[in-house]
Every structure is written in C-alpha cells, then in structure tokens.
C-alpha cells in the first residue's frame, strides 16, 4: 500500500489551544492542523467546538500518544472507542500513533517508552496495530520514537521492525526526522543510513520539531523537547529525505515553550516551501 499520494503534501502545524483564534483565521496555502486526540476526549465543550470550526476550513490529522501499541497487552477498548468517535466526528486525513508503550496494567505513564525489538514483540505490536485499524476502519501511520536508553536483546533494527509492521498490517509510517536525529545521536548510529533504509512508499507523513541538550549530560544526550525551533541539522535531514521520497504532509510540532502563532507559522512556511521546491532525486 502506498501512503504518499493519499494526502496533500503540504505543511501543517500542531494546534495549541492558545492559538485557536489565529488558527481559525489563518488562510495560509495548504495549511493543515494536527492534534493529540487525548486532548479532545471530552463529552462536549469549547475544545470540541473550536476543533469543529477549525476543521471546517482546514484538513486535520489525529496524532495519538496514548494507545500504547507496544505494550504486551491489547489496546484499551474505551480509549479505542473514544478515538473512533473523534475519527467519525472530524474525518481526519491521517490517524497516527507511536512505536512505543505508555499504558500497562491500568496505569498510564505520559511518555513514549522503549522496548527490545524482538520477534515476539513484533507479533504483539502488529496485532495491536491490527486491532487499532479494525476499530477505526482505516489504516494508520506509525511513528518512530525518540530513544534515550541503549537496550540489549533486539532481534531487528528499528527500520527493519517498522518495515515488517508495514508488511504485516498494511500500516504506513510517520517519520519524525527530529526523533531520528535524537535517537541516532543518543544511541550512536547514522541518521542518514536510518532514513535511507525506510520504505519510501509507506511514508505518509513527516514530523519536524526542536530538541535540547540534557541539563546534566549536555551534548552527550539530546532530548526531544518539542520546546524549541527545528534545528538546522534536522532541516538538512528533512531536505535529504524529501529529495529521496518526494513531498509528504509535514508537521511542525511544538508542545512546550510555545511561541506566538506567527513564529510557528514561519517555520511551517519554510517546510512548505521546501515541499514545493523541485525534487532533485
């Protein structure tokens, strides 16, 4: 299955509540928005009303952070039902989740946690993605996480693991270029080689975000903070990736230290222009 051409390859912005009014009024070419569905799992109220209004004028992507697809248990049914209601209401052009776990045995840790990429883990994650896709009645994109901890016991590299998931479930990939840069730096591998190994046809979306040095360890450990502008090396990786695979819907993510809407829009416009530039490959 090809995930590239199904959505407009323009650039979007993560939508923050403090920017609702400006987002609603913004007429930038090709602008789309992305939200975490977990922030809209409400019965009613102003959040849903704002999203209704913004969705009326802009494409929307739902980017989940809490389904815990890599947990050694099935996804929470109530969470899946709530997600399904949002998908039905907002008709997003993309639904995505992470190659990570966060909820187990009824407790949620608000993070995207790592695991040893074993063959049995591959079967478990593929089964969980299948449950998600069945519940939503559509395919989803799976995002590569930021990694901070070298682990023993992997049977597959992350790119092999993701490619196997694509093969087994028909899912697509959301490539977070900042996460690639952070993980490659922290665990000591090549970001170029990683990006080159991803199956191009499966890539349906790209994320760009900022990172920071660890407060204690400095440059040795990079943290995916979503709290700063996209770093220049990440822009370079993005350009190289788009040269290879062609344009894809690309998101500027900012979740902390949130600046003025205009500042985020300027970053988004830079990504948008790069997607519109002639492809060299």
């Amino acid at each position: 299955m090809t995930h590239g051409p199904s959505a407009a390859p323009t650039a979007g912005l993560g939508l923050k509540p403090q920017h609702y009014a400006e987002a609603l009024a913004c007429g930038a070419d090709g602008l789309w928005f992305e939200v975490h569905p977990e922030n809209y799992m409400a019965e009613g109220g102003p959040r849903l009303a704002w999203l209704d209004a913004i969705r009326a004028d802009h494409p929307l992507s739902l980017h989940g952070v809490g389904l815990s697809l890599a947990a050694d248990e099935a996804p929470d049914e109530a969470h899946l039902s709530a997600l399904r209601r949002l998908v039905d209401r907002y008709q997003p052009f993309v639904v995505s989740e992470h190659l990570a776990w966060s909820t187990r045995r009824g407790a949620y840790a608000p993070d995207l946690l790592p695991f040893p990429r074993t063959r049995p883990a591959l079967a478990r994650v593929a089964d969980n993605i299948g449950r998600m896709q069945d519940a939503l009645g559509r395919t989803v994109l799976i995002e590569n996480p930021s990694l901070y901890m070298p682990l023993k016991g992997h049977d597959l590299s992350e790119t092999e693991f993701l490619a196997e998931l694509v093969r087994a479930t028909g899912c697509g990939l959301l490539v977070d270029v900042n996460n690639v840069a952070v993980s490659a730096h922290n665990l000591g591998y090549s970001a170029h080689a990683y990006l080159d190994a991803l199956p191009a046809a499966a890539i349906g979306e790209i994320h760009l975000a900022g990172h920071a040095r660890d407060e204690r360890l400095g440059e040795a450990l990079l943290i995916d903070t979503h709290g700063a502008p996209v770093a220049e090396p990440v822009w370079a990786l993005f350009e190289r990736l788009v040269d290879r695979i062609g344009p894809r819907p690309t998101l500027i993510e900012r979740d902390d230290n949130i600046p003025a809407f205009a500042e985020l829009l300027a970053e988004r416009d830079r990504a948008h222009a790069m997607l519109r530039a002639p492809v060299h490959a």
């Binding site: 409400a42 102003p46 901890m149 682990l151 016991g153």
Partner: protein, 257 residues
C-alpha cells in the same frame, strides 16, 4: 528469553525508583541509567504539568513550583488511569488534605475540589437549556410530580466558610491571591456551562438545597420544601427564575420516570 512482559514490568519498577531493575537489558549501565533518568523526568513532568493545569486556583495560592513538586509526589502513588489527562487528579483534593506540607493550608482541599468541578463542567456534554416558557404550564399539581433535570455541566458545592467565594475570586482573577482572605460565612456555588463559557453563580443555602434536590431527582415541590427548610423565608419564585435564566435546567419529566 527476555519477553516483553518481563521487560515492561521491570521498566515500570525502574520508573518507580528501583534503579537496578533494568540491568539485565543494559550493556552499559551508565548509559542505561542516564536514559532512565530522561524517561523518569518526562513521566513526572507530564503528570505534574497536567495537575498544574487542572488545579489553577491551587497554583495561584501555593505557586506553581510548590504545586508541581506536590504533584510529582501524588503521581508517584496515583498514576493516571487513562491516557487522556484532561481530568487527571480526581483523588488530588483528598490527597492534599493529608499531605503534611499542606497542613497549614487546609483550604487547599476545597479549592482543588472546586477546580475539579470546573473541569467537569468544561468537559461535560453540550445541551440546550430550557427557557422560562417551558415552566409556565406547571401548576401546583404538576409542580409536585415533575422533576427538572440539571444541565449536564452543572456542578454545585457548599462550604461552612467562605471558600467558594475565595475560589471564584481566584478563578475570575478579580483580586491578587495575596490580597484574598477566607471569611467565616458559609458559601456555595453553581458552576454551569450553558454554552461554551463557564459561569459561576453564588448560591444562598436555600438555592444550594434546591439544586441539590434537583440533582438527586427530587420533584420540584420537594426541592422547594428542602430549600425552605435550609433557608426559612427564602423567596422561591425569584430563585427559580434566576436559575432558569442561568440555563440550569434542560428537561422536565414526570417524577415516576
């Protein structure tokens, strides 16, 4: 064979403070510990950020740094039960009441409970309120046999002291927190979101008793009786008119329903 369940149980134990739980999965313990500390910080910050966001009146009184530190302690024992953190902290008011560093701030429990009620109103289902015309046909007999259902967003709370007044001043930012005082006179509020904006209405003892009875599904006549018992001499008609105008009711139904 190191399976996924064993790894994830070990990871959860490591997050909770058992530093060596992940050693079987580490070649380089120093790098492993550094990574663990990133995950620990992210999890703690995620919980603390959610609690600071969900308890703004507490944050105004204690300062955000104090609340964030308390929140990390709370989250360690009471992790979120689901991945949406919009209403995380249901047990936080009671926990604050027995948190030793909060011993000299006994009013925090009530402020936190009211913040929770605000959030519940914020996230509640939308509904159209009944207008005055809907109540015009109610004669004395119908009054005794009809229940008025409250708007799904309606939350009420009453206190022996002025805590509800203190809270609404904090939420409306009418006064700087350091200038606020907790007085001794009883207070009660109705928190209501008839449209998209939350409105806070101060209630007299009778007004609170009336809504409390409606909330429990008592017929209007019985609610009126309870209101008068709580506040002898209460003028019922103006109270009822005020609540209708506020949008407090969404449905009239026979009490046998």
């Amino acid at each position: 064979m190191l399976d996924l369940t064993r790894f994830q149980d070990a990871f959860a134990a490591a997050l909770a403070g058992k530093d060596d739980a992940l050693i079987p999965w580490w070649d380089d313990a120093e790098a492993g510990a550094a990574g663990l500390s990133v995950y620990r910080n992210t999890v703690a910050k995620g919980c603390a950020d959610a609690l600071v966001a969900n308890f703004p009146s507490v944050a105004q009184v204690t300062g955000e740094a104090w609340l964030a530190a308390a929140a990390v302690r709370f989250a360690a024992d009471h992790p979120p039960a689901r991945a949406s953190l919009l209403d995380y902290g249901q047990g936080f008011p009671d926990w604050l009441a027995q948190f030793p560093p909060a011993a000299d701030m006994p009013f925090l429990q009530g402020l936190a409970a009211l913040d929770l009620a605000w959030t519940a109103a914020h996230l509640a289902a939308d509904a159209s309120s009944l207008d005055a015309a809907a109540f015009e046909r109610l004669d004395g007999e119908a009054f005794a046999a009809t229940v008025a259902d409250l708007h799904p967003s309606a939350r009420i709370a009453a206190f022996d002291d002025g805590l509800a007044r203190l809270w609404s001043s904090l939420r409306s930012a009418e006064t700087a927190p350091e200038a606020l005082e907790l007085d001794d006179a009883a207070s009660a509020v109705l928190i209501l979101r008839p449209g998209l904006e939350i409105e806070i209405h101060h209630l007299s003892p009778g007004g609170f008793a009336f809504l409390d009875a409606c909330r429990q599904g008592q017929p209007l006549a019985q609610a009126a009786g309870l209101a008068l018992a709580a506040e002898p001499g209460l003028a019922l008609a103006p109270l009822f008119a005020t609540l209708i105008a506020a949008g407090a009711f969404v449905r009239l139904r026979p009490s046998s329903d």
